[in-house]
Structure formats: C-alpha cells, structure tokens
C-alpha cells in the first residue's frame, strides 16, 4: 500500500480522535473553574459539589486527551520526517514552547487540584483549576500557531533548502492565528458547555437532582450560547482571511469551479462531479458568498479552474485542487451544526428567563441530550475542511504532502502503527463512553465506587480494610 495514504490515514485518525478530547478539556476546565469560583465567592456547598461532579467527567476525558497527545508530537518525526527536517526550525519552536509553557502547567496543577482538596486553602485550590484552564487554552494557542504556519507561512526565509525562522513575533501574530485561535477556543468552550447542558437536560427530564442540574444547566447554557455565537463570528472572520490567503480552499469549500459572478451566491447544496470539474445540480442563496467573503453584498470570488491555472504558473505543473466534495460538505456540516447550537442556546435562555426549566419542555430536553454531539461534529468537520482544503500542501505554497513523508519508513511499519493505534483508540473511546454513562447515572450524590467495593465483607480483599 502507498505509505503516503497510510501516513495520512494515521494522521487523520489520531488527530480527529485526539481532537474529541481537547476541546472538551478546554471547555470543561473553564466551566469547572467558574463553578468553583462561585463556590469560593458564595460559599455554598452545592457549587463545590458541582465542580467535583463535572470534574469527574473532566478527569476521565483529560486522561485520554493527554495520552493521545503524546503521539501527536511523536508522529511528525515518525511518519513525516522530511517535513520535520524542512520546517523544524519554525514549526518546532511553538511545540517546544507549548510543552514548556502549557503542558507543565496543566499537568502540575491538575495533580494539585485532584489531590489538593484537603491540603490547599480554598483560594489556592481555586487558583489551581484556573491555571489548568489557562494552561489548556494557552496550549491551544501554541499548537494553532504551528498550524497557522502551515496554512499561511510567515516569519521565515528559505535557507539551504529548508525554512528557517527569522521573525518569531510574526509567527505568533500571524493573521491566520488571530482568527483561528478565537474560533477554535470558543468552539471548545461551547463543546464543554453543550456536554453539561445535554447531561443536565437528561437529568431534568428524569427529574433527578433537579436543583443541582438546573443550576448546572443555567451556568452552561449561558457560556454555550455566548461561545457558539462567538465561534460563528470568528468563523466569518476566518472565511474572509481564507479568501485572501488560501483562495483555493475557499473555492473548494464552495465547489465553485468557474467564476462566481458578482455578487456571488452561496451554494447550499451541490451535486459535485469532481472528475469532470462541474456541479450537476445546485441550490443557491444570492449575495451570501459575497457577504461571507467580504462582509459586503458585492464582490466576485475566484473559482477552482482559474486558481488551478494561476497555481500552475506559480508553482509549476501539477494538480492543486483539494478533494472538493469533502471540503464542500465538511464546511456545510460545520455551519449547520454551529447554527443549530446557537438556536438551541437561545431557546434555553428563553426557557430560563421564563422560569420554565422545572416544568420541562420534553422535546427541548431530548434535543439537548442529542445536541451533545453537535459541537463534536462541528469541531471535526471544521478540521477536516481546514486540513483537506489545504491539500496538496502540508505548508501552503512551500511543501507538498507527497514530499513530507519519512523516506526510511516502510508501508508495513505504518500499517502496523495504524492498526495498533486505531485498535487502542477504539477501545479507549468505548471505555470512556462507558465510564461517562456510569458517572452520569450515579449522579452527583453517589459515593466512590472504591468505598462500595472495599466494604464488601465477602470480597477477597475485604479483610485488609478497616
């Protein structure tokens, strides 16, 4: 089998899986920090219980996020060694700073937070969870700084056949980063918030621990709405940046083969025929693509064929068209999921204001339970669009994917790693869902399973326990 396809498959599988947990960690950390702040400020035990209960889910999730993250750092060198040689000078720096600045902070203070409830003062303990929350967010900043370089390379020069950094400040003020970071982090906040609203809705539907889950719902729905709305706003900014810096990605995400016309309409649905380079059927909304691209109701957007000709002029002969269908649909899936989140958030705020949370609107609560999946769908689709849309480049305009692979690694080796990581990830995913369901079913007022287990007088190990 083709080593490039296998290495790409591994990257896709491990990155998408890793990115289920990262946004949830970022979002839950913030929400737990807010809950614990309310505990410290208001002094009510219920907020402490809230931080602890949602903290359980956070920790299970955090563990999987951490372990799947190590692989992310290793696989650049393992599968993409030519890429690593070419950009290590620029790309390695944000990764190293991420470890030094963010990972140490998260991992040290999460340890202090878990084990420190009885050993630290209230305020210091609160500081710990805030530092975890800040750490996870800062970590996103650095990894996105590295990713932004791949989308829009800045702050470097080519020396001796490789990219060398010549302006670190440019790297961390990359225009791409300034739109990608808020978009991604707000999406992450929404992910955490929708998990909490969804689970709370489920519990409210069943009338279990109503007071506890009503409070949780209220806190989370506010954060969820604000951050979903913010995500959309920065998504719009990002689209405009895209038109300037990666017009091919924009054209592909619109399945726009020829010129758009002025003003440009937005295609809701297209039956795409990539082989012959046209769409057989389209449904369009007038003016909308112009608005997405330029925030005004006029302006033309370049199409795939025109850009392909331009790129051949600049970069030499070759195929510069990314997988159009994937890019087109992942964009629409992301937008649809994001829009639904905003609608559901508004609905939740309405119910809250009308004080209708306790006489549940069954439909709404059921929808909210299912809507836990929405941010995950949107996050995944967003990354698929970003990374597929950049193809055939790993670093836009500088290095192509086919030149990035490790020359000394065989297909057999990559196949072995794809199979083993996919297997262990699938197992982890299953275990995690099982544990989540278990924790949720038990609810916030249950005791630890350890204690139940140890108290079994007939258990082999019951004798050793006082």
């Amino acid at each position: 089998m083709d080593p490039i396809m296998l290495a790409r498959l591994q990257f896709a599988v491990t990155t998408i899986f890793h990115f289920f947990f990262v946004p949830l960690s970022i979002g839950l950390a913030l929400l737990i920090a807010i809950m614990e702040t309310m505990y410290v400020v208001k002094g009510k035990e219920e907020y402490k219980r809230m931080a602890k209960f949602w903290g359980k889910l956070f920790l299970i999730n955090f563990a999987v996020g951490v372990v799947t993250g190590i692989l992310q750092e290793f696989q650049f060198g393992m599968n993409w060694s030519d890429y690593s040689r070419f950009v290590g000078d620029v790309f390695g720096a944000p990764l190293a700073v991420e470890a030094l600045f963010a990972f140490f902070m998260e991992s040290t203070f999460i340890g202090l937070w878990i084990f420190g409830w009885d050993r630290l003062s209230k305020r210091v303990h609160l500081l710990c969870i805030w530092l975890v929350a800040i750490g996870t967010t800062v970590s996103a900043f650095w990894i996105l700084a590295a990713n932004s370089f791949m989308q829009h390379p800045v702050g470097f020069e080519i020396n001796n056949g490789r990219a060398e950094m010549n302006d670190f400040f440019a790297l961390i003020t990359n225009g791409q980063l300034l739109v990608e970071f808020p978009h991604t982090v707000l999406g992450a906040f929404a992910t955490g918030a929708f998990l909490i609203t969804g689970i709370s809705a489920y519990k409210l539907l069943r009338k279990q621990d109503v007071k506890f889950f009503k409070k949780s719902f209220q806190i989370a729905v506010i954060i969820g709405l604000i951050s979903s709305f913010g995500t959309a706003l920065f998504g719009h900014q990002q689209a405009q940046y895209l038109v300037k810096t990666q017009p091919m990605k924009m054209a592909a995400s619109e399945a726009l083969w020829g010129k758009s016309g002025d003003p440009a309409p937005w295609t809701v649905y297209a039956h795409i025929d990539s082989d012959s380079g046209k769409n057989n059927f389209e449904i369009q909304i007038p003016y909308l693509l112009s608005f997405l691209s330029y925030s005004s109701f006029d302006g033309e957007v370049k199409g795939i064929n025109e850009l392909q000709a331009e790129y051949e002029q600049t970069y030499g002969p070759g195929n510069y068209i990314p997988p159009v269908r994937t890019t087109f649909w992942s964009f629409r899936i992301m937008v649809a999921a994001g829009s639904l989140m905003i609608v559901l958030g508004l609905w939740g705020i309405y119910l809250m204001k009308r004080k209708k949370l306790e006489s549940p609107n069954k439909w709404y609560y059921r929808l909210m339970l299912w809507s836990i999946s929405l941010p995950f769908i949107a996050n995944t689709a967003g990354w698929v669009m970003t990374e597929f849309g950049r193809q055939p480049w790993t670093v836009f305009g500088l290095m192509q994917t086919k030149d990035s692979i490790s020359p000394s690694v065989t297909s057999g080796q990559i196949l072995f790693s794809v199979i083993s990581f996919t297997t262990i990830y699938a197992a982890l995913g299953a275990v995690m869902v099982y544990l989540f369901v278990k924790v949720i079913k038990k609810g916030p007022f249950a005791e630890d399973s350890h204690d139940e287990h140890s108290a079994d007088p007939f258990g082999k190990e019951g004798y050793h326990v006082s």
Partner: protein
C-alpha cells in the same frame, strides 16, 4: 558556549530530568505487581505517584519538543529510524496513563486486573525501550549520507542494547522502591526498602557488564575517556553510599543517591556522544552533530530567551507541588485512585 552547545545541554538535562522523575514513578508502577500484597496496598502505591506522574511525563514531551525545535534533523532521524520501538513505547504510555484514572472507577475485579496489568507493562516497557534506544545511539546506527537511519531489527536489538534496556529498568525499579520507602509507612515501607537493598547487587553487576561492553563496543571512551572515568568512579561512590543509606534507613538520602546514579548514567550517554547527537555506524562523516542537525541561530536564540524566562517558574511550581504532597500516604486517608 555556543547556542548549539547550550541546546544540546538543555536536551540532555530534559532527558536526565525525565529519567530522574518519571524513573521513580515507572519503578512504583512496576512494583505494584509484586510489592503490593492486596488492592489497598496497590492503591497506596499508585496514590504516592498520583499527583506527579503526569507532570513527570511532560519532561519527555518537552525533551521531544526541544529536539524538534533545536535539532530538527536529530528529531527526524531518530523518530523515523526508531519507528517500531516508538510505536510500542507510545502504546505502553497510552495504556498506562489512562489506567491510573480508569482503574478505580469500577468496582470489578476483572476491570481492575486489566488496568493493573496496563500499569505494570506501561511502567516496565518505556524504560526498557528507552534504554535500548539510548544505548543503540551510543553504539552507532546505520545512518547514511542523507541522514536517514535504515536500521534492521538487530541494529536496534542486540546484546549490548538489551543490557542497556535492562539496566535502565533496574535503575528505575530501585529508584521507585526507595521513593515508596519515602512515601509510605509500616510493612509496605519495610518491604520496599528491603527489596531495594537486595536489588543493589544485580544492579551493580549490570552496571559492570554495561560499562565493560561500552568500552569494547562503542568509541565513547576513546573520545571522552577521562571524563567518563571520573563519572564511573563517582558512580561507584554514589552506589556505595546508596547501600549505606538504605541500611541506615535514611530513605531520602538513598533516594537521592539512586537519582544521582540515573543522572550520572544518562549524562555519560550524552557526554560520550558529544558533539555528535547520533553516531553513524557506516561512516563517521555521516554522524549527526550539534551543528549539522541544528536549527538556525535565530531560532535557537529565540528559544533560549523564551525557555530561560519560563524555566524558573516551571521548576518553582513543580517543586512546590512536591512540597504540598510531602506527607506519607496512609491506607486510612482518602485515596483518589
């Protein structure tokens, strides 16, 4: 000192720090299998490293990140060349990391046994594999003119690297047992101390074998004979002191000594290679060095400023966290895991 030399030292320090710190939690992880007599003792053991293991592992991630940024060619050659061992290393670290969090969440024997096995293998395999990798790097690997390492199984796994791997496992185990002696009480503490004492002899034997083999199989003594001999003598002194401190039940001091052994051992790996970072067995001319493997001066300068600014804080809060959890772990208190 040039920036290239400084970054070589920093990468070495990160690896030494990693083995010193995660070394003991690997040791504790291994000892859950035979030192703990029941579930409660296993929980005590795991809880002694509970607040720390994650941050300890970040030392490895940071070492990898620093290699990537400062010596991209070293990172690229080593990580692609050692592909399969690194896959196994990652699988082991993944299984281990989640096991700590997962094992206590369900009160079922089979469930716990599965995760306990993950903790054991996940603590045994990484030091072994890394021992194999580092001793292989000293011995030399088939690295060609394009900096590509095309190593067959026996280039990576041979008598020398196997002894290297086992030595690192043993070092971590003794280090972990002494950490256990430091953080627990009663019979568990006694047993940990006793076992550490017993293992000193095989550990000494391994060191002698590894030292002799290193003399014959690598060129590190030709290159840095004097410095390495001094380290070897220091090693003997530290070793004898470790034995003495264990018999006197001065666990803290003994733990310090095994830590010093780890530091001396891994420092000598880096000192022996310097200024090379990976030794080519095909031709000396193909070896990667701190010059031909490095990033540009601008990159190194920026990273130097950033890391020297951050380092005091990072070290500060990590030391503080050890201070917060300095008390011994009892069976009767609340155990998290």
């Amino acid at each position: 000192m040039s920036l290239n030399e400084l970054w070589f030292v920093l990468v070495a320090v990160l690896f030494v720090g990693f083995f010193f710190l995660e070394g003991f939690d690997f040791g504790v992880g291994m000892s859950t299998r035979f030192l703990a007599k029941n579930d409660m003792e296993r929980r005590v053991l795991i809880n002694t490293i509970g607040p720390f293991w994650d941050a300890n592992e970040v030392w490895l991630i940071t070492a990898g990140g620093a290699m990537f940024a400062a010596f991209p060619n070293w990172y690229a050659t080593m990580f692609s060349g050692y592909y399969t061992p690194l896959v196994v290393l990652l699988l082991a670290l993944i299984a281990r990391g989640v096991a700590f969090e997962f094992r206590g969440k369900v009160g079922n024997e089979k469930w716990k046994k599965t995760w306990d096995m993950s903790i054991f293998l996940g603590s045994l395999l990484p030091p072994f594999l890394l021992g194999v990798v580092f001793s292989g790097m000293m011995k030399g690997l088939p690295i060609d003119a394009d900096m590509e390492m095309k190593a067959g199984l026996f280039d990576m796994v041979n008598l020398y690297t196997l002894v290297g791997g086992i030595t690192v496992v043993m070092l971590c185990l003794v280090h972990g047992l002494l950490y256990t002696a430091l953080r627990t009480t009663g019979s568990l503490q006694e047993r940990a101390r006793k076992l550490a004492h017993k293992l000193l002899i095989p550990q000494a034997a391994l060191f002698v074998v590894l030292g002799v083999m290193t003399y014959f199989q690598t060129d590190v003594f030709e290159v840095r004979g004097l410095l390495l001999s001094v380290i070897a003598i220091l090693g003997v002194v530290v070793f004898l002191l470790a034995g003495r401190f264990i018999s006197k039940k001065k666990d803290g001091w003994a733990f310090g000594m095994t830590g010093a052994l780890i530091a001396l051992g891994f420092s000598s790996v880096f000192i022996g290679m310097f200024p090379r970072v990976m030794v080519s067995s095909i031709s000396d001319a193909f070896s990667l060095t701190i010059d031909n493997a490095a990033s540009g001066q601008y990159s190194l300068k920026v990273m130097t400023i950033v890391s020297l600014t951050l380092l005091p804080f990072v070290l500060g809060y990590q030391i503080w966290s050890y201070f917060v959890f300095h008390k011994r772990v009892h069976e009767k208190e609340h155990l998290e895991y």
